[in-house]
Subunit: 234 residues, 2 copies
DNA sequence: AATAATAAAAGTATTTTTTACCATTATTGT
DNA sequence: ACAATAATGGTAAAAAATACTTTTATTATT
């Protein structure tokens, strides 16, 4: 490295970089968020999103991956950058910017033991407690992004089990958008995308007749995405 | 601050934080990007987006505001966070993450002298040169976000002069989406939003008859936004 | 002064999509 | 056997998008 290059960097300030995860889950017809009670200073005892400082040789998204693995035990969690929070005074402790990520997990797949060990709990989004720092805002922003994404991409599937029924999928969308949808029209729309594979098996837990299970056709989804298909669910 | 709190932060790595601006402009029916030729090491002589390190007591968005003012001379540039680039190896010089911002400016309003002084030039997006580091990817991502935003919010207006005609607005949308639109339908749609104020004055530069000038009705736009109105332009 | 040329602006008819609602079906517990 | 229930399939009306045509205001040209 030239002296001039060294100069260029050394003049600039350094600061902490964190990543915080807004972890959504879905069961019993309700959208939930995974938050945890801090056990270390600062803000010990306060509710917080799960997060971590980014290490100097670590990609920001790998830091998020590490955090998610640590708390849920899951390897392939779906997550995506939400927004970066960069106010100079957002963290009183030390200058720290945070890259927020929103993550979707299958609530029945995560490692309960591990989650409890870390003091993490699922809360319905309607009755979240006050969170530390600007984490409340992070949740508000992530919810908006989730709604935006869910409208044009079938990411809702990330929140459901491998096998799911159309009424379950509908109930998820109803939870995300906080409104009821017509069952007939929802079915028609979602099947028109040709990304669901119907299984022979049925779920009889919520009706006499039973609803067919479906799985998501990842292959065809990718194909359609490439061809510029517009999945407008709602 | 408690010792424990100090401990919590001091263990964490610090790194540089930069902000880079993807500055879009529009004139003569074409979408343009403001880029500049670096005059300092590292990468001196290479083409780059405009950007800066974030100072330790500076909000990230204020850093962007500062950069934009410095280069264009403009105070109230519209900009919005695009995405944060956090790969550990994205900058060989020193660990540095960058918060990218996409900005829209009225190409006839900026300070030409100032821009030239900084070695910045407007390029049509179709014939951009290779940019430094991951700046190429930043442009690709920002374009996608611009398209996404322009679809649901009338931000296109940020790129046009205070007074503009409907055909001008159409030509902007055609440049953003790289496709032609039907004049009648476009007019019908855009007027249906009730956010344009028709002026008596006409622009006679492109037709015998002349096209009426309009201005954007910011007041009514805000009102409609609050009421959840969906501005789906395309 | 009449007219040709031009793009803006307004209008209309057709097609497609959305929405609201109703009918049928498979199943089970009584 | 039958009532109950939610899943599924279907249909008609309403709304929106699209393609296309006509009229209009203006200027340059004859």
């Amino acid at each position: 490295m030239t002296n001039k290059t060294v100069d260029f960097y050394s003049k600039a300030a350094k600061m902490h970089v964190a990543t915080d995860c807004i972890v959504f889950g879905f069961n019993t017809g309700e959208l939930k968020l995974l938050i945890f009670k801090r056990r270390v200073e600062p803000h010990s005892g306060d509710w917080s999103l799960i997060g971590s400082f980014v290490q100097v040789d670590e990609d920001v998204d790998n830091a998020a991956r590490r955090v998610l693995k640590e708390i849920t035990g899951l390897d392939n969690v779906f997550f995506e950058q939400s927004k970066t929070y960069g106010k100079a005074d957002r963290d009183e402790g030390s200058r720290c910017i945070s890259v927020a990520q929103f993550a979707l997990i299958r609530i029945e797949e995560y490692d309960k033991k591990l989650t409890e060990k870390h003091g993490a709990y699922w809360y319905r989004i309607q009755d979240l407690p006050k969170l530390v720092l600007d984490h409340d805002q992070m949740v508000i922003d992530a919810l908006e992004i989730l709604r935006q994404r869910a409208k044009h991409q079938p990411i809702g599937f990330e929140l459901l089990p491998e096998k799911f029924t159309i009424p379950q999928l509908q109930s998820l969308y109803e939870a995300i958008y906080q409104r009821s949808l017509d069952p007939g029209n929802f079915r028609k729309k979602v099947l028109s995308f040709k990304v669901l594979i119907k299984l022979d098996e049925k779920d009889r837990s919520s009706s006499k007749r039973g609803a067919h299970y479906y799985t998501f056709d990842h292959e065809n989804y990718k194909k359609l995405l490439r061809s510029g298909y517009n999945f407008e669910v709602i």
